[in-house]
Amino acid sequence: MASLFHCQRVYAGIVISSTTIILCLSSVLLCSCPQRQFHSNKLRLGYLQSDLHHLPAFIALEKNYFNDEGLVVEMTGAFKAGPELMSAFPAHELDVAYVGLSPALTAVANGTAAVKCIAQVNQEGSAIVVKDKAAYNKVADLQGRVVTIPGHATMQDFLLRKALKHADIPFNKIKLLVLKPPEMIPALNQGDIDAFIVWEPYPAKAITSGSGKVVMTSHDIWPNHPCCVMIAADDYLREHPDSIKKLQKVHKRACDFIANNREESIDIGVKYTGMDRNTVVTALSAIVYDGELRKEDVMEFVNFLKELQYIKNEMSQNDLIQNFIP
């Protein structure tokens, strides 16, 4: 009898625990499918932390340009990296963001976010840096050395490959290492790496801190190359066409401000990046704000992503670009 009772208890236990686990998992999974929450009059904005490429965003916030256009901006956050920022779009936490062309394109191509480019933020603004006292001072000298990029499939990954190709060095002849930008200068100082390629203000910081010297700027590698863009979620774009026009106006105004008010722009850059003034001054000289996003440049970058199988083959290059740049 006791054993029969035991059997019944086991059956009941199995049923109860299975149901509980399935219910728990279902609720977790269902909760992870957020529904779009419409914020009728609020624009949720994001940008990358300490990235001087996003100075137009800092200027627009600081000078209240968004308010001037009647846009109520709610800062979703300053993200640490592009992929992290892009994941906020499918989570329906962002409407508009300043981000690198690469994470935005990769997200669209791989279907993880439905966004479109509404403006180009900057051109150029990256550099290859080696140790200040290094005997080597050109890209050709990087053969056999440890070179760091901020991530695979980034603009810097592409620029490095392009620079090495120009110098006739096969890509597999360098020792590639991925490090986050803030870790690159300490790694260079410690001798863990021989060179890095990254966006501003880190190359400028390496120069002003006496840690490194620039061997090639991204202007030398690919003149006027696209870098960061302003993107909007597809549904926001569809439902708020007027706001998009206002955003483009705000962006243009911020870029004009940078061109005409250098000193104040530097102050705002210092405030938002936490870097010293000297670094921001040096960095700003390497970044070109504004300019138009050229489809042929984007095509070159998309071809690179496709060639290295970083993006899926579900969409043709042309369709991807048409979809991304309306």
Binding site: M1, S3, L4, H6, C7, V10, I14, S18, I21, I22, L25, S26, L29, L30, S32, C33, A81, P83, M86, S87, P90, P103, T106, A107, N110, G111, T112, A113, V146, G151, H152, A153, T154, K175, L176, L177, V178, L179, K180, E183, P186, A187, Q190, D192, I193, L308, Q309, Y310, I311
Partner: protein, 268 residues
């Protein structure tokens, strides 16, 4: 009579079902997940279906991530890192735990230090790990070591404390030296606890792997590193496939440790 013949049969069937549930239940969950995905309950690019994840695993094996870097080499490198961190933790935490467990003075002195350091997450050690050990294998091993060390240490101390005092007293009465007490009483007595700590430590070691490989991977291989690349190119299917690989490796290692434990502790 009837009960005597049927009940063992029922119990046998129950054991059989319970054993099979280990396989059936996860399969049922996977089927439900796939059905929900196929019916469109989950957005495929945010919560990939089991079939997409399986395809992701195939892609990691055939193409690799970054392309050309096979899943097996990522597994091998991660196993080396976890294995090294775990072994260093084992050879330091076990002797320390036995000594601390044996001598109350040491326990009183070290407990506050242990309790202050123990809750610090391995991720917080990354900047220091890079400064102390540079970028690469050593700093990653250090982060994993930190994850493994404290569960093994605390379990060893608890194992020594659980050894019955009368056994130590009896050994002393029979003229056993401190060395004999350590070797013949404390170590065998605390071995079950040490194994429990080792299993927990190994699990935590795997959990710290992704953080450890955040410190930079010079070889270009490692499961944590691979997951970060998948994140950079925004492929949740490959992220989950990488997680599955970590889970499976961790499970297999745990099974190995348990088998070793049951062989070594047959006397239990």
């Amino acid at each position: 009579m009837c009960l005597k013949t049927t009940v063992p049969g029922n119990l046998g069937a129950m054991n059989y079902i319970t054993e099979k549930l280990k396989i059936i239940f996860p399969l049922v969950l996977l089927v439900l997940w796939q059905i929900a995905s196929s019916l469109g309950f989950f957005p495929p690019h945010n919560i990939p279906s089991p079939i997409q994840i399986l395809n992701g695993l195939r892609e990691l094996i055939v193409i690799g991530l970054p392309p050309g870097s096979s899943l097996f080499l990522h597994c091998f490198e991660s196993l080396l890192r976890v294995g090294s961190g775990f072994l260093v933790a084992l050879v330091t935490a076990v002797p320390l735990g036995i000594v601390v467990g044996r001598f109350a003075v040491l326990r009183i002195m070290l407990t506050p230090v242990i309790e202050v350091i123990r809750p610090i997450p391995p991720l917080a050690w990354i900047p220091l790990a890079i400064i102390w050990f540079g970028i690469g294998f050593q700093s990653a091993t250090f982060i994993i070591f930190l994850g493994c060390f404290f569960p093994i240490l605390l379990s060893t101390i608890s194992g020594v404390l659980s050894v019955e005092k009368r056994l130590i007293e009896a050994a002393k009465t029979l003229g056993a030296t401190e060395k004999i007490i350590f070797l013949k009483v404390l170590i065998p007595g605390s071995t079950p606890s040490i194994f429990t700590g080792a299993r927990i430590g190994l699990g935590i070691g795997w959990m710290t792997l992704v953080a450890a490989e955040f410190t930079g991977v010079k070889s270009g291989y490692g499961l944590g590193y691979m997951i970060m690349v998948a994140r950079d190119i925004q492929r949740p299917d490959l992220v989950i496939a990488g997680m599955v690989a970590i889970g499976l490796l961790g499970y297999l290692l745990d099974v190995g440790v348990r088998r070793f434990e049951s062989k070594l502790l047959r006397w239990r």
